[in-house]
Symmetry: C2
Subunit: 418 residues, 2 copies
């Protein structure tokens, strides 16, 4: 059996001894959840028989006796920094939740501490459940609300942790990087494997994130596994990070930048790998408007530039193009680009992802620049998109054109890093 002290409790454990009604294999079953040593979900039916299900066979938990954890109250420890954990959902918050929508809403500091008790040795945990959604459902509206909650929490906490689904965690981290100017750490953390699986990265990531949240970091970062072993996490700048694997625990990588730091596990010792905004250098500030009418378009051979007109006619004035190579599209896009550039900001990024855009090398690139397109330097397309949403939300088109070329939150490195 998986050691209890280790991490989050699996669904089976969580419901152990409780009477439930579940949907599985196309039928409804009712019974008492039995202790399981195999990771399966075992139900003692009323007729006395046991029936076991694999995780994936369990479609839905329809009803469960009210769950009351009766956890001991947390005592604030002297000398430890106060850290707020804001939960937004995703795998890291998922227990039974994505089947019932019910259990995870019990997201109290006591609950987190009972699941990852080592947390209480790092900081005094304060918790807030903001959302319980899969991050593919995050919207710019959510980023704004989240930024406001983080802003508030930073006023009376030494750091803030945001637990978040991994799918769009880098989008949210980029959004908060632009919206918040912070002297204290804001740490996004997620999990690639849910906490009811032995290979879950949830607890270790959370512990490393807590460590990062008590460190001398004045910016928005992402803290996730740095390798496929449980040996260290990496702290990535929120505007330089990307999810580069669908399932690996070390899916998050800094692109065109070194990670800011590395946190070893289980020692939690920190090694700095790159520059960071230090504490106290920036005052806490919130600039939280976002323009929704900004679009990211990935170019491919044969794609018609009509797509630019389509969005332009709908009132879009911000365009990020994911071009090829050094930042190209085909020559038959130039006329449309020129027209759109007249009253819009058009930023060129590269679908290569790594490297820097440079449109002064080839004819196609020079034509693109002459049309009025702005080189996105070494910005990730996703980051350029959010930067443009933020710029157009808070500044004029002309200001946005100037600012998009300059680093606002560390999103442009002066020289290209590999």
């Amino acid at each position: 059996m998986r050691p209890k002290s280790w991490g989050w409790i699996s669904m089976s454990e969580r419901l152990e001894g409780k009477r439930v009604r579940i949907k599985a294999k196309g039928k409804i079953f009712e019974g008492i959840v039995m202790p399981s040593f195999t990771g399966n979900f075992v139900l003692k039916l009323d007729n006395g028989y046991n029936v076991g299900f694999k995780e994936y066979e369990l479609l839905e938990v329809l009803e469960v006796e009210p769950f009351e954890p009766h956890l001991p109250e947390l005592v604030k420890r002297e000398g430890l920094p106060d850290v707020k954990i804001i939960s937004t959902g995703g795998t890291i918050a998922s227990k039974v939740d994505y089947r019932t929508g019910a259990v995870t809403s019990q997201f109290t500091a006591e609950e987190i501490a009972s699941e990852v008790p080592e947390l209480t040795e790092i900081c005094n945990v304060d918790a807030e459940l903001l959302y319980n959604i899969l991050s593919e459902n995050m919207k710019p509206e959510n980023w704004i609300e989240l930024a406001r909650h983080v802003y508030k929490a930073l006023k009376d906490h030494e750091g803030v942790i945001i637990t978040h689904g991994t799918d769009t965690m880098h989008f949210s981290a980029a959004a908060l990087s632009f919206m918040l100017s912070t002297p204290k750490p804001v740490v996004f953390v997620g999990a690639q494997r849910s906490s009811d699986r032995p290979s879950s990265d949830a607890a270790m990531n959370l512990l490393c994130a807590a460590k990062a949240a008590t460190e001398d970091i004045g910016e928005v970062v992402v803290c996730m596994h740095g390798s496929t072993s449980d040996d260290y996490c990496l702290v990535h700048r929120g505007v330089k990070v990307r999810k580069n694997h669908t399932s690996r625990r070390d899916a998050f990588q800094s692109v065109n930048a070194k990670p800011i730091g590395r946190i070893d596990y289980p020692s939690l010792s920190v090694e700095w790998l790159s520059w960071r905004y230090r504490r106290g250098e920036r005052e806490l500030k919130l600039t939280d408007r976002l323009e929704r009418k900004v679009v990211l378009i990935k170019f491919f051979p044969g794609l018609s530039s009509d797509i630019l007109e389509y969005y332009h006619s709908k009132g879009y004035r911000g365009f990020v193009i994911e071009g090829t190579g050094l930042g190209h599209v085909s020559t038959d896009w130039i006329d449309t680009l020129r027209r759109v550039c007249e009253d819009s900001v058009v930023v060129m990024t590269s679908q290569c992802l790594w490297g820097r855009v440079c449109d002064r090398v080839y004819d196609t690139g020079r034509d693109i620049l002459r049309a009025g397109v702005i080189e996105g330097e070494d910005m990730l397309p996703e980051v350029a998109l959010i930067k443009l949403m933020w710029l157009l939300g808070n500044y004029s088109i002309e200001e946005a054109k100037e600012m998009v070329k300059k680093s606002v939150a560390g999103e442009i490195e002066p020289t290209t890093q590999y």
Copy 2:
């Protein structure tokens, strides 16, 4: 001075001693091109003064005395395999071309052999100039024409090399992988640095490509630098490769697959790293229709599903979505997806690029499957796009739905490779 035996001749060398009119620094200059030892372009003006320009200052070569290489005729060597080089343009073919459009059209076997003489020790070179375009200007029409030329060339050559711009080389390689069933090697090769730069990878890549074109490979591959040193090239399966850096010479990487082989330089010894279709196993076959109305859409938080309707109303019946994580879009896309799936093929891939799509884990994913979307397995989004163009060009919607899930040209690996 850069050793002559080494690679392509720089623009300055190429025009040495000739009378030219050029545009540079906003003015027109006329004079005789002088030998240069610095890589600069030096002109002796009629008044006797020399004036030098950096490569990038030279905007256009307006006129040049007719260029006649007078190269020795190539003699066919007994025992060496015949290889056809088809040139399509890009940096690897660029000399003065992208400024004048003139000089590169002198693309004869003699010229290539005089520039990379080591080639004649590997094979008997036969050459054909098909295009002289930057690959960001390639279109599905070009892939069809190219496939037909390769098909023809394969009938009386042991292998075919296609020199190609790097921007969209992986798109073209994927296209030919589906269109051609070949018992012989079809090798795409390009250069990240133009041949007039000392760090050019053009010659070494071409030599390794020639080696690959005489090997026991029955498929379409890409041969490019494997490291930033000049020590080896990698041979990538045409449907598993991607340009992952804007400028590094080792920008091409196999994604979700091992490269097929490694060719050391300068020894040109080959090491096989993965499975390949062997010669003779497949008969030469051309299936060269492509449906143009297929689109690749990259999802991001806040993107409206209206974009699906837009393309659907224009008659598109093939959609590849670059979703988040394991292959997700937000829940508010489901209704539109369901409608579109009724008469279209919709394939889900991941913008993570690495890893495999699996929509059975989360609610959002299961909803996507129920709507009729097909999981793209470990296919790159770009490859799924081209596969769908090819399937819808040659098969019915129903057949395409079945075939898209199965590996046609090695584009789906049975298990995920890292």
